[in-house]
Symmetry: C2
Subunit: 215 residues, 2 copies
C-alpha cells in the first residue's frame, strides 16, 4: 500500500507537498477534492481532516497528517535523502524562516477562503482583491529578494545547490502569483530560483496543470 | 554575551518566542520595538531583519534569526532539554500541525498590519474588524478543539505531559483573543490547556503584561 495524497490541483499548499513527495521519490495515490465545489467539507473528508483543508497525507496505517509544512518536515525526518533542509542548525533556521515568510505571511492572506470573505463581507471587487493579493506578495517578496541577493554564496537554490523547503514554497507562491498578474521584475533572484526549479521533473510533475483534476 | 531578543510586548509571535526561551532557560537581553510607532521599520532594525518584523533573535556572533516558528525549532535543535516537540516522527508531525493551524491559519490574518489594511482600504469599522478576527479564530479553533478532545490520551498539554510548540502557539493565540472578546466557551480543552500553561513561570514571565515595554 502507498499513502493517499488528498489534494486540489490549484491549491498552493498541495503543490508544495506534491513537490516534496516527488523530490523524495515517494509514490502516492492521488485523491482530488474540488475546493470551489466545497468537497473538502464533505462529512467523509472532515472525518479524516476536521479542518477541511487540503493537502493531507493518509498513511497506509490510516494515520492522517495535515498542514503542508508539518508533512514536509515529516517526510524529511523519515526519508532523509535527498534532504530538504540543511544540516547545520543556523542554516536550517534560515531555510525555515524563508519558507515561513511565504507560509506565514503571504499564503494565509491570499487563499480562496480569504478572497471570498473580502468579496462577500467587505464588498471588495475583483480589482481590490487583486490589489490585496499583490500587496501581501510585495510586502514579503521585497525582503525575501534582498535576503537572497545578499547571501554570502549565490547558490543555485535558496539555501544550497539542491532544492529544499524554501524553494518549494517559492515555486508554489510564484505559480500562484501568475493568477493575479504579479509583476516579478523587482525579484530577479526569486525568479531565477523559480525557473531553475521548474526545469526539474519533480516540480514539473507537481505543477497544477499536470494533476489529474486540472481543469 | 547573551542573545538579544527583539520583541514587542503585545506581539503574539514575540510571546511565543519568549515562552520558548523561558522553557529552555535561555537568558536574553530584551530590546523593544514599538510596532504602533513603526519602530520595527527603522533603518537600523531593517538592517538586522529586512522584513521589519518582530520577533528576531540576535545571536552573540551577530547572526540574526527571524520567524518565530523557525527560531523555536532552532532552540529545540540546539538546546534539546526540555524538548518542545515529541521524539517520534508522526507525533512530531501532529504537534507541528497543531502549531501551524494557529501560525498559518489564524495569526497571519489577525495581526496589526492586516487589521489596519481592512480599516484603511476596505473602510472596515471596529465591529467589522472584530467579526473578522473572531471568524478566523473560530474556523480553526473548532477543529483544533475537536482534535484535542479526540486524542487517544488526554494529556495535560496538547501533545504530552510537558508543554511544547503547540501549547506555545495556543497560549499566545488565546491571549490575543482576549483583545477581541472571543467567546472561549466552545473550546473547553483549549481553555484548560491555556490555563495549565499560564500556571507555569515560563509562560507567566513571557506574558505581554510582564515585559519591560508593557503599557
Amino acid at each position: 500500500m502507498i499513502p493517499v495524497l488528498h489534494s486540489y490541483f490549484r491549491s498552493s499548499t498541495s503543490f508544495r507537498l506534491r513537490a516534496a513527495l516527488n523530490l523524495k521519490g515517494i509514490e502516492t495515490e492521488y485523491r482530488a477534492h474540488h475546493l470551489r465545489l466545497g468537497e473538502q467539507r464533505s462529512p467523509g473528508y472532515l472525518k479524516l481532516n476536521p479542518q477541511g483543508l487540503v493537502p493531507a497525507l493518509e498513511l497506509p496505517d490510516g494515520t492522517v497528517l495535515t498542514q503542508s509544512m508539518a508533512i514536509i518536515e515529516y517526510l524529511d525526518e523519515t526519508v532523509p535523502e535527498p534532504p530538504l533542509l540543511p544540516k547545520e542548525p543556523v542554516a536550517r533556521a534560515q531555510a525555515r524562516a524563508m519558507a515561513q515568510m511565504i507560509a506565514c505571511e503571504i499564503h494565509p492572506l491570499n487563499n480562496l477562503k480569504i478572497l471570498t470573505y473580502l468579496k462577500t463581507e467587505f464588498g471588495a471587487g475583483e480589482e481590490a482583491v487583486a490589489v490585496w493579493f499583490r500587496h501581501w506578495v510585495a510586502e514579503t517578496f521585497a525582503p525575501l529578494e534582498s535576503l537572497l541577493a545578499n547571501r554570502p554564496v549565490a547558490h543555485a537554490y535558496c539555501c544550497g545547490d539542491t532544492p529544499g523547503l524554501a524553494d518549494i514554497c517559492v515555486v508554489a507562491q510564484v505559480t500562484n502569483n501568475k493568477r493575479f498578474a504579479v509583476d516579478m521584475m523587482p525579484y530577479p533572484v526569486i525568479s531565477a530560483i523559480y525557473e531553475r526549479c521548474m526545469e526539474l521533473p519533480a516540480f514539473q510533475k507537481a505543477a497544477p496543470a499536470n494533476q489529474p483534476d486540472a481543469e
